[in-house]
Amino acid sequence: MSKFKKGGKKSIPGVNTSALPDIIFMLLFFFMVATTMKEVELQVEIVKPSATQAEEIKDKDNVDFVYIGYPVNKNMGTEPRIQLDDQLISDHTVISEWKQIKAREGKTPFDIVTSLKVHEDVGMRIVSDVKEELREVDAININYSADKRVVNK
């Protein structure tokens, strides 16, 4: 007189998939949060310098980026080049024009930060030229892009 059935069908229950949506949502959220939108396709190689006093740019909508680095495409030479939006430019004097095109309505040139993303090995000549050009159009609010470094005291 056994309590237990003998010889019954031993079917393996299917894997419970009711948590699958949770996992998928989790992944979705993760990528949504961790992804930063790439504004432009970089055509120059930039290794940013680091600085202890680097501060986050708070107003992310009112920033223009100027990239200065070594061209990724070796046909473009090995000299540092300037990239604005999606183009490498050959003459830095177009920066003032570009800045005027990028002007936002209701904002003065001073309100818009120009972030300079420059490779740390680039010489100061080209950076200085860019700054002079920005001054031409009163875009004097600039930010030297650098990774935040923490020093132990």
């Binding site: 948590a19 989790m26 993760f30 010489g123 009163d138």
Partner: protein, 236 residues
């Protein structure tokens, strides 16, 4: 032997595990942020008059050459030594004249502020469009407020023409330039933080620029520890 039928695995806590993982990743993921050192370039039009004589003692010259060597006041130094030199430039004479080779400090008192404000107001009335004058007037009004707020009713101010002059050459690397800028910013931030703690008992780094009270403090700190950097044109 008796056999038990396989039971379904309880998956009720699966969602909890999923959320736990989600939260873990949320907390540990660092997003790339656009950080950097902010600077305001001088306006093109308000170039200072050419024949302003700046005394040797009021000038800190930092010169970086094509080989990334650093020359400060004619002496070759390492970047690590720069911070101390800049701090010394700012604070050597803060407690009375002790070093005649460093910028002098002078007392700013309430009567002095009122005097300057009266003078400037008259000037502004004459040329109402002069932004520089207005700016200057605004500065003195802040100084007056500062004096009134302090228990001693006065404060010491670094000589108004004291400058840090930065000169580069064409091939000075941007990396070194940022290191120099970083040091200059650090010294000013540290000094401001110290003052902020001393006078208002607040943490400088937690001041918010969108809060009017904090904004006022930041304005006063800028007067107390001014940041005057000029960059020379690159010659070679």
């Amino acid at each position: 032997m008796a056999r038990r039928e396989l039971q379904e695995i309880n998956a009720g806590s699966m969602a909890d595990i999923a959320f736990l993982l989600l939260i873990f990743f949320l907390v540990t993921t660092t997003m790339e942020v656009d950080a950097g050192i902010g600077r305001t370039l001088p306006l093109k039009r308000d170039l200072p008059p050419i024949d302003v004589k700046i005394r040797e003692r009021d000038l800190l010259e930092i010169w970086a050459n094509n080989n990334d060597e650093l020359l400060v006041e004619g002496k070759m130094i390492e970047v690590e030594e720069l911070e101390e030199i800049v701090i010394d430039f700012y604070t050597a004479n803060i407690k009375g004249e002790t070093n005649p080779d460093m910028p002098a400090y002078s007392k700013i008192t309430i009567p002095k502020c009122q005097q300057e404000i009266a003078k400037l107001t008259a000037k502004v009335e004459e040329n109402p469009d002069d932004l520089l004058l207005k700016n200057e007037l605004d500065k003195w009004e802040t100084k007056l407020k500062l004096c009134e707020e302090l228990p001693t009713k006065q404060y010491d101010e670094i000589y108004k023409m004291s400058l840090i002059r930065l000169e580069n050459q064409s091939k000075t690397s941007y990396g070194l330039y940022i290191q120099i800028q970083d040091v200059l910013k650090k010294v000013v931030n540290d000094l401001r933080a110290e003052k902020c703690e001393e006078i208002w008992g607040k943490n400088y780094y937690s001041l918010r620029e969108d809060d009017p009270d904090d904004q006022e403090i930041i304005k006063k700190l800028r007067i107390l520890v001014p940041e005057r950097i000029v960059e020379a044109k690159i010659k070679i």
